[in-house]
Amino acid sequence: MATRDSKAAIHLLADKIASIRSQAQPYADRIKQASPGIVKLAIHEIRVCNALVRYLGDLLVGTFSEEDLDLEVSKIAHAILILARTTRFFASDDNLINHYDSLSPWENLVKSISADADVIIRSQSAYEFESYLEIRDMLERILPLDVSRADVFRGFPKHFIVLNIPIVQAWNVLHYALLAHEIGHFIYNVEQLEQIPLAVVPEYRERLVEFFKRERGTTPDLEAFDDEFSRFLQTWSKVITSRYKELMSDTFGAYIIGPCILFALRDFGLPGFRLDFAPGDGERFLGYPSFRKRFLLLLQAIRPFTEGTFRTETADNKRAVRRLRRFLKTWGLALRQPAAAADDRYGLIEQIVDECVTRALTKVSAANYPWRYDAALYRTELFELYNRILDDIPPNEIRNGQAAAVGTPAHWQSILNAAWLYYLDFRTEKFDVFRWNDGKLSEDTINHRHKSLRRFNDFVTRSIELSIVHERFLKDKRCLEGILDDPVEIDD
């Protein structure tokens, strides 16, 4: 039976939980301002507190031995510590990204890939995600059977996409390109593409046996279960899957935002940049495909965007189209390399990765993804938006013919691509801030270019916001009812 002292201890704990819950509430409100994805995590915290309080209530009316009760109380105390740590994390404003509005297209995009998913945009994602996992693991151990885990997690998204964004980074088109790649990882998971290497690697078993023999000096006994060979295969599979995963995420990124995904490979051409990693690069070499391979695959993925005719291909734009095509072609030629030698270990890895990518692309090309950025849309919108930028007008809408004063909102991907095209055209004169450490540019020039770039990025971000607001307005004017009305007239 629970003694009076134990009950008092539980009351004390219940008070502590209530106090943590009241501390968590203002954070939840603040977080609500920032992103619905984050709110869910905050609400989750509060739900967990509620579950614990309910459980404490059950304890008070139940019968327990002194020992059992102490055990339960100590478990709950442990849970409280973890919750307190997480709520403290929420308290820090520095950890919330502050330009969430510009990222809102991702919410819809992620929902169109998986309705159960939710986006958490945080700058310290690793920490947050780890603490979430820790809470979840703890809950599995501490929650009593009659409060099921499903109850506690009801309403919680099935997937989290945790995007780690460097807040100081001011390159908005680049931001979007990086995010597209990261969302690509999510699509890779949703599409269960990790199964492909599992099928492809065994097909190369004989070649792998050769390499095993060459390296270890023994032939694996394939009839019996050979531990060493199986470990050897595992290592190969890991390297292949990791490289293939990055390549597929790049491809999905290109499907999402089109040609401006090339911006994600921003290190290209900078001092210290290498097209091909060498084995000496260790983890980077083993886990990542070369930039050469990534670039070539991206060029292949964006080819449909640049083929065909652009809607506003006027004399001026024709030159821009030619420049864009030449740019892509030049890079394609410059990056081409002879096929990897299969008798070299890394050459064989490349071959298997290529095979995996080919199979994956065959699989995904048949799928009609609703989130995919339509290449025809790109060709329709790109130059009208680009011309607006040249005229210092935000590229937020498309005017269907001169007769319309009110245009239709442009797609956010088209806005990004128009901005990217502008960036490509004007980079050298206006925005080139990469080469400051060559010592060729004065500090004043660099500051001036940074300022121009920041102003341009704000201009692009604002255009995306305007197009989103406009689209919402067209879709459902009623949802803005009240807001759009005039203030109530005062009767005379």
Binding site: D392, A405, P409, L466, F473, I483, P487, E489, I490
Partner: protein
């Protein structure tokens, strides 16, 4: 000469970019373009004035560190669309319009408040002239001269532009 609705409409549709009047996004032309004015909406970026600044005063003639001193005095904030912004009695803030404007060299405009807001005690703008060739969003100086807080939402029709043609 003050421009009428039909002139404004044709300028919005002008094919020549040099002579076109750009107001984007013009969410609802029928509602926003009046007989001799265009309504503009409130944006979601505000600059509010800090109450406790630790500075004695702003002397615009003392240019040294003026920007830094102003940063102490003012704070930028962004309100999500659909969320309220409270402007308290005797408070002052800067706000932008939702619309981006691009004026041809042949047009100028005055920004004036809308009477429905004025009756609640909201003063919309004090520096009201838009020069020919202006490009950008308008900065509005909002002041609540009433005795109760006024709740503002991004996207409300906050002010109106009275457009004039400019002689050669």
């Amino acid at each position: 000469m003050i421009l009428s609705r039909s002139t404004i409409s044709s300028l919005l549709r002008e094919a020549d970019p040099e002579r076109r009047l750009v107001i984007t996004p013009l969410l609802d032309e029928a509602e926003q373009v009046g007989k001799a004015s265009v309504d503009v909406r409130l944006g979601n970026e505000f600059v509010i004035v800090n109450k406790q600044t630790g500075i004695l005063g702003i002397d615009p003639l003392r240019r040294t560190n003026l920007a830094q001193r102003l940063m102490k005095y003012q704070r930028q904030m962004k309100i999500p669309f659909g969320s309220p912004f409270y402007l308290h009695p005797q408070d002052f803030c800067l706000a932008t319009t939702l619309e981006y404007l691009a004026f041809p060299q042949t047009l100028a405009a005055y920004v004036i408040g809308r009477s429905s807001w004025g009756r609640l005690g909201l003063i919309i703008a004090t520096a009201t002239m838009i020069e020919p060739g202006f490009k950008g969003t308008l900065v509005l100086e909002l002041a609540n001269v009433g005795s109760v807080p006024i709740v503002l939402y991004p996207m409300v029709r906050i002010a109106q532009l009275v457009l004039h043609s400019v002689g050669k």
